[in-house]
Symmetry: C2
Subunit: 109 residues, 2 copies
DNA sequence: CCGAATCCTTGGCGATACTG
DNA sequence: CAGTATCGCCAAGGATTCGG
């Protein structure tokens, strides 16, 4: 446990969670990681439990944090594609560990 | 969370986040990881932003998930110690990555 | 097809007080 | 010192609509 001196570790975790807060952001990032470039509707379909409002909101926040890239095609009908930025890709190891942990401990039905 | 038409990786992330939901749980786990066995008051002090009610609640949930161990000493005044269980320790790699990420991207004061 | 704005409900969470 | 219970607020988030 290097560089984890008294509370520094905890504070860094606090910071990370303040940037990627709540579970929706992790899930959205996982979807983009798995499927690459995705349109709004594709993400929505992958995470059907999320509401329209929540998804737009979370995407906007992730974009503001420079974790995802938003590319808008000015056309009718509109088309917007999202993808991970380089910074967003640095979160992949965490997402993978989360996925591994979930796979291991998820009750098999 | 129900009927997510998602691929396996995404589902596993969803499961993980359903077990360790919200930021408080990660922070509590980080504190126990850093400092080892901790009394209630010590945790409270490390995460001063958390309220009394929240802390008890989160601790109870973490205990129910078998991620932390609660040891009560029946004495006056009461003394209760918390520590990571073996299952809880399996989350350490994730916490460490979160700490590393936070350290790297946290704006320098 | 995508996103913003509005309205409205709900429960998360804080504050406080009380018990063992 | 540790935990539980109660009350009440406010904001998170759901449903819907409109506009580009």
């Amino acid at each position: 446990m290097p560089n984890c001196t008294m509370n520094e570790c905890g504070k860094s975790v606090v910071y990370t969670l303040s940037v990627v807060g709540g579970k929706w952001k992790w899930i959205i990032l996982a979807i983009l990681f798995e499927n690459g470039v995705q349109r709004y509707g594709e993400i929505k379909k992958s995470a059907s439990a999320i509401t329209h409002k929540m998804l737009s909101q979370q995407l906007k926040e992730l974009e503001a944090e420079q974790l995802i890239l938003r590319e808008e095609y000015h056309q009718i009908p509109p088309k917007v594609e999202y993808s991970l930025t380089e910074k967003g890709k640095t979160l992949i190891p965490i997402i993978q560990l989360m996925a591994d942990w979930g796979t291991k401990y998820k009750p098999s039905k």
